[in-house]
């Protein structure tokens, strides 16, 4: 058995002490070095990953030595710069983006009308909910055969399919953004005598901006995918196709390096819009307002 045990107060004596300057640490506080700052930048780290991927691609393709199946990164770069210089690629990008903006704009317009109907009346809400439930899961490309039948080959068909791709995600997000605006903010707006479209424009839209931006982003991604896919399918007959048609055409001509270059451009444009344009809007709005969730 043990001898006499101490009570906690006997065991734990009180004390006070003076704080000392930490001498064992050589630097307590110093500005970060250039390399540390560089490594903190997300874009730099991501760029490093991209370079690494390019190197792996280059090494593997060189080993494979089959330019018909997998051209090297270098070959792709050469094809890319040649097409840029000849202006061929820029014309294709231009054609694609024009169609895209038409469809995107049309989709936003239809979504706006539907959401305004939805917040105005209960029947409008039902209409929006039913339509989105029906059409949102339907891949836009599945409507292409029908679009061809109705609008023939060419621009109207692609725009129709794009509008379908863009409308539903945007309408869904904007509407849920509007309904999520708190009752206090609504009451503040009404207190200033705002009602109708003034209330929508000056209270609901800014208050729901995080969701609206999400809707616009998702809509953009859907539109871009759908555009390239539908160009692949029936740019064949429409002559002056965009990037999707360009990829299809180069594959038929067995210029595989150019196929890769086309795909590369599709990816780069996607990144520029997503991480450039939308990021810029986000930084200037919801991040500054502290509304980013």
């Amino acid at each position: 058995m043990r001898g006499k045990s101490l009570t906690l107060t006997e065991l734990r004596t009180e004390y006070e002490r003076e704080v000392v300057e930490p001498v064992s640490l050589t630097n307590q506080q110093r500005p970060l070095s250039f390399w540390e700052k560089l490594w903190d930048c997300g874009a730099v780290r991501k760029l490093l990953i991209l370079i690494l991927l390019a190197i792996i691609w280059q090494v593997y393709a060189t080993r494979l030595n089959n330019p018909l199946m997998l051209p090297t990164f270098f070959d792709m770069s050469v094809a890319l710069s040649q097409m840029f210089l000849s202006g061929e690629l820029l014309a294709k990008i231009d054609a694609s983006l024009r169609v895209l903006l038409l469809g995107y704009g049309g989709g936003i317009a239809v979504a706006t009308i539907l959401t305004i109907l939805a917040i105005r009346s209960r029947l409008g809400t039902d209409l929006l909910e039913t339509l989105t439930a029906m059409f949102n899961p339907l891949p836009a490309i599945a409507l292409l055969p029908l679009a061809l039948l109705w609008f023939g080959l060419g621009l109207p068909s692609i725009v129709f399919v794009l509008i379908h791709a863009v409308t539903w995600p945007i309408a869904l997000n904007v509407y849920s953004g509007f309904t999520g605006v708190g009752s206090t903010l609504r009451m503040v707006g009404q207190n200033y005598g705002l009602s109708g479209l003034g209330f929508v424009g000056r209270i609901l839209i800014p208050a729901a901006f995080p969701q609206i931006l999400t809707g616009l982003k998702v809509g953009w991604a859907f539109a871009w995918r759908t555009l390239i896919a539908s160009e692949l399918v029936f740019g064949v007959n429409s002559g002056s196709g965009g990037l999707g048609w360009f990829i299809f055409e180069k594959k038929n001509q067995l210029e595989i390096a150019s196929v890769f270059a086309g795909l590369f451009v599709v990816i780069v444009i996607g990144i520029i819009v997503e991480n450039g344009l939308f990021k810029l809007i986000e930084d200037r709005t919801i991040t500054r307002w502290g509304m980013k969730s």
Binding site: L185, M187, Q190, Y192, A207, T285, W289
Partner: protein
């Protein structure tokens, strides 16, 4: 208060007359207040005091015009209240009452330009004047999310004062603040009042806050809210909260509010 006594008043400024308020939740029709009567005169600080469920906030929303009475009528300067408007400035409990996409200054300016259709420059001058009054001019260009809770409520009060509403309605504006900040805000509110003698209707569930801020207290009972008593507060006689008279008043209010429960328990 001296001012109320010296002013000749023929009609009440705000007249809440036999007001029954009902609203629907998903499953029930709730009666929030039943035939409530009270009046507020110019420059009064009227407190609506009661436990939760007495319909005091609903009553304030009805004065704000967000809710129409099922029975009775609410009049401001003799005119029936039918919809919200800037003649009744509102301060809410929630910090989210500031528009997050506008800076502090823009929040006040927006209120003025939207509701009064005031020219921008005039609105800016006025907004700066009132932000100075609540000591927030340094934060004029900050966004609300960077401010503390107390600062947000001060912006909301400045916004309300700048509107120069006929009457200011406050719905437990200090309830979500910490005790120290709350005390400071109460003092500041009284100071602001002594500067411009605005008419105030203030909702609270704190007896101490009611005695400190009010010139007259309307006591409400719960489920549904009915007026139990109206008391005058003469702060000059109470002096401070350690006074015997203060304690007696406090006990009296407590008795009136909770009489039913005590009887029920016995």
């Amino acid at each position: 208060m001296a001012l109320a006594q010296n002013t000749i008043i023929d009609a009440p400024f705000l007249d809440v007359n036999d007001v029954t308020l009902q609203y629907k939740t998903k499953e029930y029709l709730v009666t929030a207040t039943y035939r409530v009567n009270f009046q507020a005169y110019q420059s009064e600080r009227l407190i609506l005091l009661g436990p939760s469920g007495c319909g005091k906030s609903t009553l304030l929303k009805a004065i704000g015009g967000y809710l129409r009475p099922t029975e009775g009528v609410i009049r401001l300067e003799g005119r029936e209240i039918v919809k919200p408007g800037p003649d009744r400035g509102m301060v809410f409990q929630e910090f989210e009452q500031l528009l997050p996409w506008k800076t502090v200054l823009e929040n006040v300016v927006f209120a003025l330009t939207t509701s009064r259709r005031m020219p921008l420059q005039e609105a800016k001058d006025q907004a700066e004047f009132y932000l100075r009054k609540v000591n927030l001019i340094k934060f004029a260009h900050s966004y609300p999310h960077t401010l503390s809770g107390g600062m947000k409520q001060r912006v909301a009060i400045a916004r309300c004062l700048a509107l120069r509403s006929k009457i200011i309605l406050m719905d437990e504006p200090f309830a979500a603040l910490d005790a120290l900040t709350r005390q400071k805000m109460q003092e500041e509110l009284l100071e602001l009042w002594s500067g411009s003698h605005f008419t105030l209707v203030f909702v609270t569930h704190s007896i101490d806050e009611a005695i400190l801020l009010g010139t007259r207290i309307v006591l409400l009972s719960p489920h549904p809210g009915q007026v139990k008593a109206e008391l005058n507060i003469d702060w000059d006689r109470l002096e401070d909260s350690r006074n015997q008279e203060y304690k007696e008043l406090r006990d009296r209010i407590h008795r009136i509010l909770f009489k039913d429960q005590i009887e029920y328990m016995i």
